[in-house]
């Protein structure tokens, strides 16, 4: 921790020009400074993770959404000779079904890929009288009626069985959506906590400096002058702390060992494309929150002291 805290301190002195006369009138308040720096660094670190989680689950939800966009499948199970005819019949039915955007019979390769996990690779499907699958893509409003379709299929292609994917898709996308909102809620909570923490730290500093304030007033300092010194200091500290936390967070995410492709959520925990830009908003936001919080708290304190 020592090392962590001494580096920002030296940067801090430069950033703020702590030697500037007007800044020197507020005492350096060692521990409160460390507390502010540390708290905002820790919070920024967590915020970066929450952000990554949100974005990753957003991407996951999109992928699941896409994977299952087919909406529904029709299985055609018949003696081998009749399959092609019944597949064609089913496709015809689908052509005239409201709510179906397109329908397409899977190729043998696609079919094989689908079954490989369960039946092994290198399986020659043609030797097995396995069912043929038709993928249905719904229209955007997703309003096709499974019950009606089943009845029509029973009449025109008796071997065709409708398998509605929505029962798979919905819980999955709902889960991903929940993970995403969990991430955003965490973000908001973390920001609120940071705000509260910095407000409290600023209050601690202002309360501890009641005497400093009274001396400054005695010699003719205006409230704006006094408030400015505190606000500037806390804003810079919070921003700097958050920057450090963000750096650590981004570094941690960058160097997180990536799992195999099967580990869905975990591999995805990173930023992609312009999302790399988002974590850098964390320090800006933290500084902004600190600015607002400290200014309010300074005004309140200064208003309260006679």
């Amino acid at each position: 921790m020592r090392a962590l805290l001494s580096l920002p301190k030296s940067i801090w002195r430069r950033v703020t020009g702590a030697e500037a006369q007007s800044d020197r009138v507020v005492p350096p308040s060692g521990f409160t400074a460390q507390l502010t720096l540390f708290a905002s660094a820790a919070m920024a670190f967590l915020a970066v993770f929450a952000l990554a989680l949100s974005l990753a689950s957003g991407r996951l939800a999109d992928r699941w959404e896409a994977d299952l966009a087919a909406g529904a499948t029709i299985r055609v199970v018949t003696p081998a000779g009749q399959q092609d005819a019944q597949v064609a019949a089913a496709l015809r039915v689908l052509d005239t079904t409201a709510g179906v955007a397109s329908a397409r019979a899977l190729t043998a390769e696609e079919h094989e890929a689908l079954l490989a996990p369960w039946l092994g690779e290198g399986l020659d499907l043609s030797t097995l009288p396995a069912p043929r699958l038709i993928e249905i893509e719904e229209t955007a409003d997703g309003s096709f009626d499974p019950a009606g379709l089943r009845l029509r299929l029973a009449a025109e292609a008796p071997g065709a069985v409708l398998d509605d994917h929505r029962r798979w898709r919905e819980p999955l996308t709902r889960a991903a959506g929940r993970l995403r909102s969990l991430g955003w809620i965490a973000m908001v909570l973390i920001l609120a906590t940071t705000g509260a923490m910095i407000t409290l730290a600023a209050n601690v500093a202002l309360a501890a400096n009641a005497q400093v304030i009274s001396v400054l007033r005695l010699v003719g300092a205006t409230d704006a002058y006094i408030a400015r010194a505190f606000v500037r200091r806390f804003t810079l500290r919070a921003g700097l702390g958050a920057l450090i936390g963000t750096l650590f967070g981004v570094a941690a995410i960058l160097f997180l060992p990536s799992a195999g492709s099967s580990a869905g959520i975990l591999t995805g925990l990173g930023f992609a494309g312009w999302h790399w830009f988002l974590p850098w908003l964390v320090p800006v936001l933290a500084a902004f929150v600190a600015f607002i919080a400290t200014r309010a708290s300074a005004r309140r304190t200064l208003g309260g002291l006679t």
Binding site: R24, V25, V219, A221, T222, Y225, T306
Partner: protein, 238 residues
């Protein structure tokens, strides 16, 4: 900008209390106090401990607002001023607080220069002034010490130096010699008298009758005494 309605009325009072009353929430501490301190006057304020000397001085430099009556500083009513005005006003009034407070993270010289700093003046331009002042109060050798490292008397001298560095029109000093030996208080008195001769208005609260007697030999000072919640001009017995 810095001259808050400064002595528009040359003949008027610098500090004027009209029927002022004050209490800290309990019983009345001061009531119907009327006072006019003319520019260039020298006043002592005495009275038993707890009579309200510090309170009266705080009213005079706008640190407290009267619970009744009106206070006019430099011809302007305190009631009309906002905090900012009071802050600017303070730059024309040098105050020596009874428990002289400093910024403990700044050294003595910086503390004495504080009024320059907060009013945005260039401290460098006042360097000689500052040195002379520190020398005058005998703190040159302690100018780089931090306030908590000062002795009681050194603190009081530093507070006086801070009060007069801006060469204010009014100097208000609350027990400035409480911790100072006789010789040093004579020097402080001489300094105040000198300032008074330069036209400054001086108000000193003290319980040190010796100091008052010594001052009377040097300057035409009026002595105000607080008793029974009133301020009276003390008789010739002092």
């Amino acid at each position: 900008m810095e001259q808050v309605g400064a002595r528009k009325e040359r003949g008027g009072a610098v500090i004027e209390l009209e029927n002022v009353a004050y209490n800290y929430g309990g019983g009345e501490l001061l009531s119907s106090v009327s006072l006019k301190l003319a520019p260039g006057s020298f006043h002592f304020l005495t009275g038993p401990s707890g009579a309200g000397k510090t309170t009266l001085l705080k009213l005079c430099y706008g640190d407290l607002l009267p619970t009744a009556g009106d206070i006019r500083l430099f011809g302007r009513s305190l009631a009309e001023m906002d905090r900012n005005d009071v802050a600017l006003l303070r730059r024309q009034m040098g105050v020596v607080h009874q428990d002289c407070r400093f910024l403990d993270h700044l050294d003595v010289a910086e503390n004495v220069a504080l009024p320059l700093i907060v009013s945005g003046r260039d401290v460098g331009a006042y360097a000689q002034n500052l040195d002379e002042l520190l020398n005058w109060v005998g703190l040159t050798h302690r100018s780089h010490a931090l306030p908590p490292e000062l002795s009681g008397g050194e603190r009081q001298r530093a507070a006086l130096a801070r009060a007069i560095i801006l060469s204010p029109d009014v100097v208000v000093a609350d027990e400035p010699t409480g911790n100072i030996d006789w010789e040093m208080s004579q020097r402080l008195l001489t300094l105040l008298v000198e300032l008074n001769r330069m036209g400054k208005t001086i108000v000193v609260a003290t319980h040190d009758l010796g100091l008052i007697r010594a001052a009377k030999a040097l300057v035409q000072a009026r002595v105000l005494r607080i008793s029974n919640r009133r301020v009276q001009l003390a008789g010739a017995d002092l």
